[in-house]
Symmetry: C2
């Protein structure tokens, strides 16, 4: 009974936070003139730059559609209209020109390409947006966009990367960077929802992605490293020793979802123990609380200036991972860790005055950047976390009620 | 007399600091096997990564030669030998392949290219190294290397940038980024030392660089902005509002040297008032001391995570700028500001235990990264500052002695 109260308190707070967060984005970020979203928003929602970052455009379309489709109180016409306008902006402008295979990283307000990254991530968020738009509107063109781009990125990752435009250099050994199989696994999860045909088509890619993620568990299972060789060996130097606790924990919940859908208990156990609990233990700042951004597995000082800063997204991913892990295992360690992250997060990141969360705190937990959105923070990690936690907590409360 | 004491105290401390700093680099950074330098050094000098960053290789060769050539107590055979080994490493390995026009950004310990930037900066530090090696050894091959690469970068900057490999994108307006004319002005200064022929050859380039730097003075002379249009207008958004106080101050002393050598009083005045005092006033943290890394001219929060961190190099550049400005103007504001930066710097950055300086402090002045060297910090800004300040203080003391 006490436990049920705790779950209910969390859910109530999280539900009202989700409403406030989405209220912030719908009020301040929509570009009614060109479609798509402003994401460079000050603490109070003012637009301080009108550039459009394609990762964030795709993510916001995804988030709007997902909430519209899954959460009855968000099944609102205006949310769908904004998502469609964002999707149409992407179709018209994400590619720098009509013959480009790649998407831009950032475009002007009216959609002219400013910068293209030599990676697959803009394309990945394009796919998430298109697939979710298709599921929401049932318009086939969105499915075609999603599937076509998916074929393209799988080609770049598994067949021939030359189309990404990276030069081949004699000292640049090919690297298995965990972000790549993570994104692919996340996309397989997205594309295969209630879709037998997709599950067949992408089944092997899902298994390959899991294998590539598991290669990052190194040092006799005692550390998750962000970069390993293509055949799963440790790399020399800073690149090889680099750790990103929040990213490992995010990979943990991606693996957990895979384990559930495949009923793979062993994978579920590895996900919880090695990708969630282990990086949380090493990555949590015992002095000031919060998750470090980066660490060096041998204890050297990382060279990234922000290594000790506390960023919003590792904390949202930890909240999801602990709750998802608890739902399956009922391991009390996971709920206690959820509590710890929840307390830190709602005290430090959430802005009671203007809504949404601060994104960047100092090691000591002071707000370092007052922006609510920027080149890398948009309408995604916070509402995705709140939506998923609300859903999981609702299930847990129902279970308690038996 | 009191003033002379102050100058002497500064000089004595600065001279002994220069000895300690150079002792750190000569003891820990030299790669006796392959030539060149390790720059990824922990607080105590331990090598935590053996990658070689070309900016830092070139800068260290320059620094060794300059001290060997100009400061009698550094006229030591082993310093010259290390510089030559570093120079030969650069000639053999800075270019990714024998037919490359560009230099790499970073290479492996044995010289295989890992990454190439689509900018001119690796090439600029290559030129500095080669020109200074020529002046030190009088070997013509170094001069040929310097001059050949100089022709190349001038071609990229002023005739045709396509060789840098940047894609042309419809939303990417050409930008006058202050770093480019600054580097060129600095190179003109380097190449023209006691060289009439070079002075004729590069005279117009020097004037052009000054003009391009002065375009960054915006808002009716009330702000130096890092990025402007090619014809000197303010750019929209964060890019346009971006300020880097340390960089503006460094540009200030580059302009001051130009003003001295051309006996251009008006330029000297602009350099001191607008590029040194103005950015110092706006960039100095009134609460905790130290220079902010980045600012937004309209007071928005910058999107760079380290905007409020205190980095070593803006402080070294401020020390040089104030002393150089004082030498010419005898304006007491400049000496008072020198004192302010000196006190902050020697208290916070200098490491009494292991030598050299910390590079990265939090806004509050706590050491955020304990490394002494890394991908962007090597044997350059600290010893260049100490060497220049020692030289200027010596002149000032001689003047006092009259």
């Amino acid at each position: 009974m006490a436990e049920k109260n705790r779950l209910q308190q969390w859910r109530d707070r999280i539900s009202s936070e989700l409403d406030k967060v989405m209220g912030f984005w719908t009020q301040y970020s929509e570009d009614k003139e060109y479609g798509g979203f402003f994401t460079c928003l000050s603490r109070d929602g003012a637009v301080y730059d009108d550039l459009k970052y394609i990762w964030l455009q795709g993510r916001q379309v995804w988030m709007y559609c997902r909430l519209y489709r899954k959460v009855p109180r968000f099944h609102r016409e205006e949310l769908l209209n904004s998502a469609v306008a964002g999707g149409e902006f992407l179709i018209a402008h994400a590619r720098p020109s009509s013959d480009s295979l790649k998407c831009a990283f950032v475009v002007t307000r009216d959609g002219r390409a400013v910068k293209v990254q030599r990676t697959i991530f803009s394309e990945c968020f394009y796919i998430m947006a298109m697939d979710e738009l298709w599921r929401t509107t049932h318009e086939e063109k969105y499915k075609r966009e999603a599937r076509g781009m998916m074929d393209q990125i799988v080609h770049w990752v598994r067949v021939d990367a030359s189309g990404l435009g990276r030069p081949e250099l004699p000292g640049a050994e090919p690297v298995n960077a965990m972000a790549v199989p993570m994104m692919l696994l996340n996309l397989v999860d997205q594309l295969c929802e209630d879709d037998e045909e997709a599950a067949r088509k992408y089944g092997e890619l899902g298994a390959w992605s899991v294998e590539k993620i598991l290669q990052h568990l190194q040092r006799n299972g005692q550390a998750v490293l962000e970069n390993v060789t293509e055949d799963g060996k440790e790399l020399p130097g800073c690149t090889g020793r680099h750790q990103n606790p929040g990213h490992a924990i995010e990979a943990g919940w991606f693996l957990l979802r895979r384990a559930f859908s495949n009923m793979d208990c062993n994978l579920g156990k590895i996900a919880v123990e090695k990708f969630v609990l282990l990086p949380f233990e090493s990555g949590w700042d015992k002095e000031y609380g919060g998750l470090f951004s980066f660490q060096d597995v041998d204890g050297h000082c990382p060279t990234q200036l922000e290594w000790s800063m506390k960023l919003w997204w590792p904390h949202t991913e930890a909240l999801i991972a602990f709750l998802l892990g608890y739902m399956e295992t009922k391991d009390p360690r996971l709920l206690n860790n959820f509590q710890k992250v929840y307390d830190y997060t709602f005290t430090r990141f959430s802005d009671p005055e203007h809504g949404e969360w601060f994104g960047y705190l100092t090691q000591e937990g002071k707000v370092a950047l007052s922006i609510k959105g920027g080149p890398f923070k948009g309408c995604f990690h916070v509402p995705r976390c709140l939506y998923m936690c609300e859903e999981i907590l609702t299930k847990l409360i129902e279970e308690e009620e038996g």
